[in-house]
Symmetry: C2
Subunit: 407 residues, 2 copies
Amino acid sequence: MVRKPLDDFHFIDGGVTAPAGFLATGLACGIKKTGAADLALLHCPGGAAAAGLFTRNDVVAAPVTLGRERLPARGVHGVVINSGCANACTGEPGLAAAREVVAAAARVLGCVPAAVLPCSTGVIGDPLPAAKISAALPRANALLARDGGHAFATAILTTDTVAKEAAVEVALSGGTVRIGGCAKGAGMIHPNMATMLAVITTDVILTAEQAHALLTAAAAATFNRISIDGDTSTNDTLYLLASGTTGVTLASSVDRERFAAALKTVCGRLAQAIVRDGEGATKLATVHVAGGRSAEQVAKVGTAIVRSPLVKTALFGGDANWGRIVCAAGYAGAGITPESTTLRLGDLVLFEAGVPTGAGRSQAAADLMAAADIEITLDLGQGHAATTFWTCDLSYDYVRINAEYRT
Amino acid sequence: MVRKPLDDFHFIDGGVTAPAGFLATGLACGIKKTGAADLALLHCPGGAAAAGLFTRNDVVAAPVTLGRERLPARGVHGVVINSGCANACTGEPGLAAAREVVAAAARVLGCVPAAVLPCSTGVIGDPLPAAKISAALPRANALLARDGGHAFATAILTTDTVAKEAAVEVALSGGTVRIGGCAKGAGMIHPNMATMLAVITTDVILTAEQAHALLTAAAAATFNRISIDGDTSTNDTLYLLASGTTGVTLASSVDRERFAAALKTVCGRLAQAIVRDGEGATKLATVHVAGGRSAEQVAKVGTAIVRSPLVKTALFGGDANWGRIVCAAGYAGAGITPESTTLRLGDLVLFEAGVPTGAGRSQAAADLMAAADIEITLDLGQGHAATTFWTCDLSYDYVRINAEYRT
């Protein structure tokens, strides 16, 4: 968790409409059989500088193809997102459907199609019902509101159980600016560049290139450090839109640092909220990997640990079966050395200098594993590189949700 | 599944004691709280040429360290295996305990300690109760029998529900020889070089170097092509012992090919038996990856598919949610191209030339997914490399077994 002094920034209520210059809404257009909200629309009437980060999967959804072509860019006026259908593995017909939706959104928002960014999330391989979305967009446009962020955050959900929003206010030399965002996750979460879907807004003035650089740095330490099931989706998309409505710029290096830290905090909150609401999750585990020779090494080790089904079922069972953590680190292909490795659960040392301390069988370890928030630190004892990952446990409900998902 | 004409070789009953020149047994020595068999002893009175393949995990159990030092070698007289304790992450005391067990086994078998190969399997991080094992070894020695292979195969099990054995008889130019083997698996199965534990015996004459080359080739297409949970263990060990009792050698290239094919078949049977008995498994999926540019590419794609929790929960749910298979292939980092990719379930084409065929929602697809044996073929349409993987589904019972394992 990123911690910064409160005088730099503080959390406020709201999500994507917390910053000035944005309107949003969410509603049901008939894609989800349940009748739940499945269409989300964000509008930036003054135009925004925007950046996007996308999945590195070789197989990408149609909206990812369109979004990648467009960004980074100035003059972005809207984001249109549907849930309930991923529009992935749908070939040329899928691209045509995504273009149809973007064109329909551009018509209601009064901008060119190139100024609208699309996203889809849901089942892979089903055709996108573009006509349903296009038919609902005039209604969505009429519902756009300055307090519509929560409706927007709700309409992008799939198997998520709660909307995920975060917003902060940051004091810069030229004045106060805001950053807000929302995300959805739940399954197929092992982001590689961005997460399933997240939209971040701000009212500071940024160039498209600044937006891209800031977003890339923030995602590296947040969205790219979480895993629910190790499956990198075809649709991962993270957008940042800067309306510039406040007239405030990042005038100094202090401003840039403050804004970057605040952006990372918003991204971190959303990334952790995704893990906490992971499919079937009952626990959030924070996994610190320290003492590495390189950033690549600690990333490899952390990835192996947060992907391990054996580590994740031990978390679910509340069993301090720490050998599984050391084993996962060992098969990461990162050249760890057990004799220099230390494993801690909270502040309790379980394994040190190649041998168990015995604490793994203690009541103290059992108590720490029974908590909803579990902190694990693996110090490789080889250098000074460090990073932090977040994951959830693997429960019966993960299996239930995913065995039954499409049916 | 490897298929060879019956005139080359045929299956026979038995396991490690099917070939001439081997005695074995299994019994309870008190490691497992349940009182189940947990000590297995194999004896080759005439000495065997032996080879071993071991986990590539950076963190290796003490018996792996000893076994690696010894092989390939001639004059191997025995294998001693305990279940219920992995003797991994146990440092110098663990190595000393493994040496104590090997020395005790050498005493009862009347050979030097260097002629005994050790294995351990069970919980990581607990100290090995070497005294219990040493105390039971004289009794084990008294029980050694020509028909003791099944008792040996039973005593090496942990969460496995059935013993896994296979044996074949091969007609070579110099006479008939046999290959037998047994294996254990169940969890922490994503072998990288060998699987959890498997011992193969034969009565053909081999040099230690021949044994190593034959074993490496057979494992590459069998034990290294299975995954239950993506977790590569600290203890993976695969031994091959050749007693030479028949006096038959691999005299010609035809003999070598026949023997290699038969060995691969025994390894393949055992590897598939491990997957079929995977923790909580209800289904066996055979995943063919074809049309690749290179062996490395098809291996990457296959690994991603058989590791994917989303693919495996869809198998459990009997849901032909094929988009998850294409998605996993896409994030394998192998450069697949959806527009050239074809996905088949049995003979049913679900995805072709970048678009769904519609068959994924058919009754025929549902029927194929409801079967206990599921065959999936992903043709990348880029070249001629191909390989086959085996995996099982991810069920409630996998979670139950691993949430409760240590407690």
